[in-house]
C-alpha cells in the first residue's frame, strides 16, 4: 500500500528478488481494504505507507488488525512523527524510509518467522 507509484514498482521488484509474490497493490487505505477483502489469496505481509490520500496507514492498519486472521503489517514510512504511534499498535513493525533492500528483506523474514 503506497501512493508513490515508482515506489510501488520498486517494492514489487524487491519482493520478486526475495522470492515472494505481490498479490495486490493499492494507492490508499480505502483501496487496500477493498482489495484485501476481494482477494481470495490473502497476503501474509502488507507493506504499508502512512501518509496517503483518502485513508492513512494507521487507520487502515487498525481495521485490518481487527480481522480474525490479520495480516502481518510492516509500516514503511518517511513520517518519523508516526513511528511511536505505529509501534504502540500490537502487530505492527516499522521501517523508516529510506531503508535498504536488506533491511526490508530481514524485516519480512522476521515477521513471517522464517529462519
Amino acid at each position: 500500500m503506497e501512493d508513490d507509484l515508482s515506489l510501488q514498482k520498486l517494492y514489487e521488484m524487491m519482493i520478486f528478488t526475495f522470492g515472494f509474490k505481490v498479490v495486490g497493490k493499492a494507492n490508499n487505505g480505502k483501496e487496500a481494504i477493498e482489495k484485501f477483502y476481494a482477494l481470495t489469496n490473502k497476503p501474509d505481509v502488507i507493506l504499508m505507507d502512512h501518509r496517503m490520500p483518502v485513508q492513512n496507514g494507521i487507520d487502515t492498519a487498525l481495521i485490518l488488525l481487527k480481522l480474525k486472521k490479520p495480516p502481518k503489517i510492516i509500516f514503511t514510512s518517511a513520517d518519523i512523527s508516526i513511528k511511536n504511534r505505529a509501534l504502540a499498535i500490537n502487530g505492527l513493525t516499522f521501517l523508516e524510509k529510506p531503508f535498504t533492500v536488506k533491511a526490508l528483506h530481514d524485516e519480512i523474514i522476521k515477521v513471517l518467522g522464517i529462519s
Partner: protein, 510 residues
C-alpha cells in the same frame, strides 16, 4: 360728642388689650420688625430687632436705621425700605452690613388716612448663616465641578432608564460632539447610540448593564468600541455603578479611552497570529520536505541497490533502464520540491508585482520541458480551442502552475499512454472576463472527499491526511495572487477513477 367721649372711654380698655396683644405678637416674632418714618428714624421696633444689635428697644427708638445697623451716616445703597418709601410699593432685597451680616429685608410703606406715606415697616431676617452655607455649597460645587470637568475620563450620570442627566467635557471628546447640551444631555443612550449603524449593538449591551446594575447593584466593568461619525473606531473601558443622589438612584459611568492600548493589543494579536502562522508554515515545510525527500531517497536508494544487486548476483531484474529512469525522475522530483518550497516562501514573504503577459507560449514551453523530462513515458498532450494570444496579469511564477498540474497528471497516472487535454474557453463571472483553462487527464483521479482537501490552506490539517506534497498548495496560492480560482472536477462526472479535470480561471487582460 359727650356720648362719643363716653363711648371712647368705654373702648379704651379694649383698645389697650388689643395693643398689648399686638405687641406680644410682634415681640414673639423672630423676624426683625422696625417702624420708621420717612427719614428712617426708628419709631418703634420689636425685641428681635433690638437684640440683633444687643441693645434695648428704648435705646434704639429715635435712632436712625442705617446708623444702628450699618454704622453709617448715609442711607444704604439698594435699601428696600428706602425704595418702598420712594415707590410706595412693598419691596424686598438683601443687605450686608459692614460687619458681614446679611439680612433679607422687606419694606412696606405705611400711609395715613389720606393715603400719604408717613413711614415704612421693615421686616428683616438675618440670613448670614444661610448665605455662608449657600456660599460653601457653591464653593464645593465649583470644586467638584472643576474636578469633574478636568477629569481625563468621561463621567456621565444616567437615570435608571438610561437618560443622560449630566456629563463632563471629556464625554464630548469621547462621543465626538461639540455641543453636549444639544447632542447628548437629556438624551437616552438608545438615541445617541442609534445615530451610527455600527454603534447600534451597544444598545442591547447598555440595556444589559443597566438591568444588571438595577438587579444586583454591583459595580460592573466592560470594554466596548465606539464608531465615530467622522470615521474610525474608539475603544472604551467603562466602570458602571449605582449612585444615590438625594432620594434618587442614578447610574454613574466612568469611561476611559483605551484605543491606544487596544490597538497595541490588536497589533500584538496580529503579530502573534503572524508568527504562529509562520511557525506552522515552517513546520509544514519541514514536515513535507522531510517526508517527500525521504521518499525520493527511498526511490533512489532502492533503484541503486537493485542495479548493484543485479550486476553482482544477477537477480533476474532486466530493468536497469527503468531503474535509471526512476533515479532521474526522483532527482527532478527533488529539484521541484526544493523549488516549490522556495516559491511558496517567496509568495508568503513578499508582495509580487504582476505584469501583463501572453500565456500560450509559457504553457507550450512547460509542455516541451515536461515531454523531455518524462521521455520514457508516452505522453499525448492536446490543446483544444487554442486562442492566438491570451493576456493575463501574472509574474514569473506562472510556469509553476502549469508545471505542477502537468507533472501531477503524469505522475498520478498508471496508463501506458498518458492523455492530457488542455481546453481554453472564456467565462464572465461577477462582470469580470476570465480565461478558463482545463487540464483534463486520464490519471488515477481524485476521490470525491479529497477534491477540496488537496487545496486546503490549513497546514496542520493537511499534514496527516494528504500525501500530495506541496505542488497544489503552491498552485492555489499563485492562482489566488493572480485573482483567479482553481478547483478540480472528475473528467467523467461522478466517476473519479476515469481521471481529473483541474480548472483554472484567470482575469483576462485585453
Amino acid at each position: 360728642m359727650k356720648g362719643d367721649n363716653a363711648q371712647n372711654r368705654g373702648f379704651e380698655p379694649i383698645i389697650k388689650k388689643y395693643e398689648k396683644e399686638k405687641a406680644l405678637v410682634l415681640e414673639s416674632i423672630s423676624e426683625l420688625i422696625v417702624f420708621q418714618d420717612k427719614k428712617q428714624n426708628i419709631l418703634w421696633l420689636n425685641k428681635a430687632a433690638a437684640d440683633s444689635v444687643e441693645k434695648t428697644q428704648e435705646d434704639l427708638i429715635g435712632g436712625i436705621c442705617y446708623s444702628v445697623w450699618h454704622n453709617s451716616n448715609k442711607i444704604c445703597v439698594n435699601c428696600p425700605v428706602e425704595l418702598s418709601l420712594k415707590i410706595g410699593e412693598p419691596t424686598s432685597g438683601e443687605i450686608t452690613t459692614p460687619h458681614g451680616r446679611t439680612f433679607f429685608i422687606k419694606g412696606f410703606p405705611v400711609r395715613d388716612n389720606e393715603g400719604e406715606i408717613i413711614g415704612a415697616v421693615e421686616v428683616a431676617r438675618e440670613i448670614t448663616k444661610l448665605k455662608q452655607t449657600e456660599k460653601n455649597l457653591i464653593d464645593s460645587e465649583e470644586k467638584y465641578r472643576n474636578l469633574f470637568e478636568s477629569s481625563p475620563y468621561s463621567i456621565g450620570i444616567f437615570d435608571l432608564d438610561g437618560t443622560l442627566i449630566d456629563c463632563n467635557k471629556a464625554t464630548a471628546k469621547l462621543l465626538s460632539t461639540h455641543n453636549l447640551e444639544n447632542d447628548i444631555i437629556e438624551k437616552n443612550f438608545r438615541e445617541f447610540w442609534g445615530h451610527h449603524e455600527k454603534n447600534k449593538p451597544l444598545i442591547p449591551l447598555f440595556e444589559g448593564i443597566l438591568n444588571k446594575l438595577k438587579k444586583d447593584g454591583e459595580t460592573l466593568e466592560f470594554e466596548f468600541p465606539i464608531y465615530r461619525s467622522a470615521g474610525g473606531v474608539l475603544w472604551a473601558h467603562a466602570i458602571a455603578s449605582l449612585l444615590k443622589i438625594g432620594n434618587e438612584e442614578r447610574i454613574r459611568f466612568i469611561v476611559q479611552d483605551i484605543t491606544e492600548r487596544k490597538l497595541a493589543e490588536q497589533e500584538l494579536e496580529t503579530s502573534e497570529i503572524k508568527y504562529r502562522e509562520a511557525y506552522n508554515r515552517i513546520n509544514f515545510y519541514k514536515d513535507i520536505f522531510s517526508h517527500d525527500i525521504n521518499n525520493i531517497f527511498q526511490n533512489i536508494q532502492t533503484s541503486v541497490e537493485l542495479i548493484d544487486l543485479n550486476e553482482e548476483q544477477s537477480i533476474g531484474i532486466k530493468k536497469d533502464d527503468e531503474l535509471l529512469d526512476i533515479i532521474r525522475k526522483q532527482i527532478k522530483r527533488g529539484t521541484n520540491l526544493v523549488s516549490n518550497i522556495r516559491r511558496l516562501s517567496e509568495i508568503e514573504n513578499k508582495d509580487l508585482t504582476l505584469q501583463k503577459e501572453e500565456i500560450i507560449k509559457v504553457l507550450k514551453d512547460v509542455i516541451d520541458a515536461l515531454i523531455k523530462v518524462f521521455k520514457n513515458r508516452e505522453i499525448n498532450i492536446q490543446i483544444y480551442n487554442e486562442p492566438k494570444e491570451v493576456y493575463v496579469k501574472v509574474n514569473e511564477l506562472l510556469p509553476d502552475i502549469f508545471e505542477n498540474l502537468l507533472i501531477n497528471a503524469v505522475r498520478h497516472n498508471q496508463n501506458s499512454i498518458i492523455e492530457i487535454l488542455i481546453k481554453f474557453s472564456r467565462v464572465v463571472k461577477d462582470g469580470v472576463n476570465f480565461i478558463k483553462l482545463e487540464f483534463i487527464d486520464n490519471g488515477i483521479g481524485i476521490f470525491p472527499e479529497m477534491k477540496e482537501k488537496i487545496f486546503q490552506r490549513d497546514l496542520v490539517e493537511r499534514k496527516d491526511k494528504i500525501g500530495l506534497g506541496l505542488g497544489l498548495t503552491l498552485v492555489k496560492k499563485i492562482v489566488g495572487n493572480y485573482n483567479g480560482q482553481i478547483w478540480v472536477e472528475d473528467k467523467v462526472a461522478g466517476d473519479h477513477s476515469k481521471g481529473s479535470n483541474f480548472i483554472i480561471i484567470l482575469p483576462e487582460e485585453v
